[in-house]
Symmetry: C2
Subunit: 207 residues, 2 copies
DNA sequence: TAGAATACCTACTGGACGGTATGCGATCTC
DNA sequence: GAGATCGCATACCGTCCAGTAGGTATTCTA
């Protein structure tokens, strides 16, 4: 095991550097040279762990699914959990380069469509599951199309995040998330449920 | 004039081909060779009209601002006009390669940040103007933050469009737009105004 | 401690890509 | 109708980039 310790460290360094560069430049504009330089690693070391640029990108995308997989519900109320998830994701986006790079690669369609679709679908499925729980709890408007709402929410979060990044370097991301929920919730949940929800962030940090 | 007619045609052909390739591949992955091939034009012709790849991309982005500039209000109700604008934009996205390419270049941040910010801001400003009219007309919820709502709406439309593209090649774009408004409007306008709005698309075509 | 994987380093390659230099026919000007 | 400009064609260039070949150090195994 000790023999793999160093190897694991360089692998992580490469992955982190790649995520950063992919986040900043996008897939096509990212160069292996910059990733190498930032990771403080030579070409041979990188290509020992990852056989190609594409494989490296896929490994970064995987980080997103991993983040979502480790995430845990935070409230008895499904809708409140959904809101909290949005804030937890925002913090991940602000703090975790792997998530940032992963998101940019997911958004940038073209090269590897399959994992991108899966990433989107993963988010949409989580949202949909929570909404179905909320419907069973009687929180949602009766006629609401749960699948459609899940699609709108994931799309909206994607766009909010993107515009925050382009316009303000993500500095106003949390505020924009609050704005989103303020606008969305009245169309989603019934008044009696609305009163019990906190649109603003509840805890200073998630997980 | 007859001499410039041909020149204008090749310029348009180049611009169109460039928009298509930028839309499909993104800026960095797009190659001049593919643009040339698709435009049916030689390198000399292209570089006569556009001095660099970047200049070509900027010209494509300009098409977006041009589209927005030619757009005209479609209703006495500002909110209805906003909804209609969303659908008109969706149709432009489906039909007009220039708008498609322009949007992708705007979303793909990195190379030329300035025009991208302006493009976003242009959309946000239009939305904000309409919302302010709606507030004066007494249609909106009293405490609503108009600027915040405009930011959310432009961001959400951006994200809806993106997820529709990645997941379904934009085939379900119009349906997703309807879903968005269904969810958003209750948080935006008061019930009496809500009754007068059409969430679904009103006319078969815009403009 | 021999040797066999493992983990990494250095130098190189082939090709693609954006951009340029130069030339040439058509059209306009006077 | 002669030069000048416009609009385009072709061939070429320097650079950069992903990936590889082959060697070397390190660490595990027995």
């Amino acid at each position: 095991m000790a023999r793999q310790a160093r190897a694991l460290a360089t692998r992580q360094a490469v992955l982190l550097a790649a995520a950063e560069v992919f986040d900043e430049r996008g897939y096509a504009a990212a160069t292996m040279a910059e990733i190498l330089e930032r990771a403080g690693v030579t070409k041979g070391a990188l290509y020992f762990h990852f056989h190609s640029k594409e494989e490296l990108a896929l490994a970064v995308i995987e980080g997103q699914a991993a983040w979502l997989a480790t995430w845990q519900p935070t409230s008895d109320s499904p809708v409140q959990t959904l809101i909290d998830l949005g804030y937890a994701f925002s913090h991940a986006l602000l703090d975790d380069p792997l998530v940032r790079g992963s998101i940019r690669l997911t958004i940038e369609h073209g090269s590897f469509t399959q994992p991108q679709i899966e990433a989107y679908q993963g988010w949409s499925d989580v949202a949909r599951g929570l909404l179905e729980q909320a419907r069973e709890a009687g929180d949602l408007h009766p006629g609401l199309d749960v699948a459609a709402a899940a699609g709108v929410i994931t799309g909206a979060v994607t766009g909010i995040q993107l515009s925050s990044q382009v316009l303000a370097g993500r500095q106003d991301l949390l505020r924009r998330m609050a704005d989103l929920w303020t606008l969305l919730l009245p169309g989603l949940v019934q008044p009696h449920a609305l009163a019990r929800l906190s649109v603003a962030e509840r805890a200073p940090r998630g997980a």
